[in-house]
Subunit: 133 residues, 2 copies
């Protein structure tokens, strides 16, 4: 594998896409769970995070559910990825505490990979949820 | 995690860096293994692949070992990564055979992530081993 989004980020993006495609109505978590084949437990965690981040609003009551809290064009994909991925390490030797590599004191691999990661995010920062709908 | 090179690629890059820093002499696999804290078994697989790819040459005999087979400035990091990673999938839903997602027929997430991956590789394609030494 080279780049692998966590299942959490993947599901966050897909949940946002589902809500974006159904922006004209309130959707229940159960519906997203069934239609997107995600476990409801996992989806609840994803939704909670999306609420915290201000992308999704919860509506209580008999006709309650969730919906986007802002226009899709204001939800930047790079931000979503950055805020749902918990660990941005690129190579094993980046792991904290692993100082056995003799190249470490003067290793430029980290810089090169960081700058490539920067290019990756710059590309995602130019896209919004609206581009995915 | 967001981007994670396989340990294989990480070790391939670090092996090349070690050989690049010691380009004035033949180095034994045992030395690289000890100095870089890689298991010799794993390193032998890495070296075999680097020989196949034409980056490393094996020298037999009592003073045998390995060395770079071309100048560091001709070893492009993007090529090394591309040729040592066996699976470039980005998100779980990219996995072949997983067609349960209802968004799949018209999903633009794949395109957006592919273009970001392209930006990542373009950055690595502009760097050679010489930049890492």
């Amino acid at each position: 594998m080279l780049m692998r989004l966590t299942r959490f980020t993947d599901n966050a993006l897909r949940c946002l896409m589902y809500l974006g495609r159904n922006a004209d109505r309130v959707v229940t978590v159960g519906e997203v769970s069934r239609r997107m084949a995600m476990s409801e437990d996992h989806l609840l965690k994803v939704v909670r995070r999306l609420v915290e981040l201000g992308y999704v609003r919860t509506l209580r009551g008999r006709r309650g559910g969730v919906r986007l809290s802002k226009p899709a064009s204001e939800i930047v994909i790079g931000d979503v990825v950055r805020n749902t991925e918990d660990n941005l390490a690129i190579v094993p030797c980046f792991a904290p505490g692993d100082h056995t590599c003799p190249l470490a004191p003067d290793c430029r691999l980290a810089n090169v990979l960081e700058s490539a990661l920067g290019a990756f995010f710059a590309a995602l920062q130019a896209r919004t949820l609206a581009d995915l709908l």
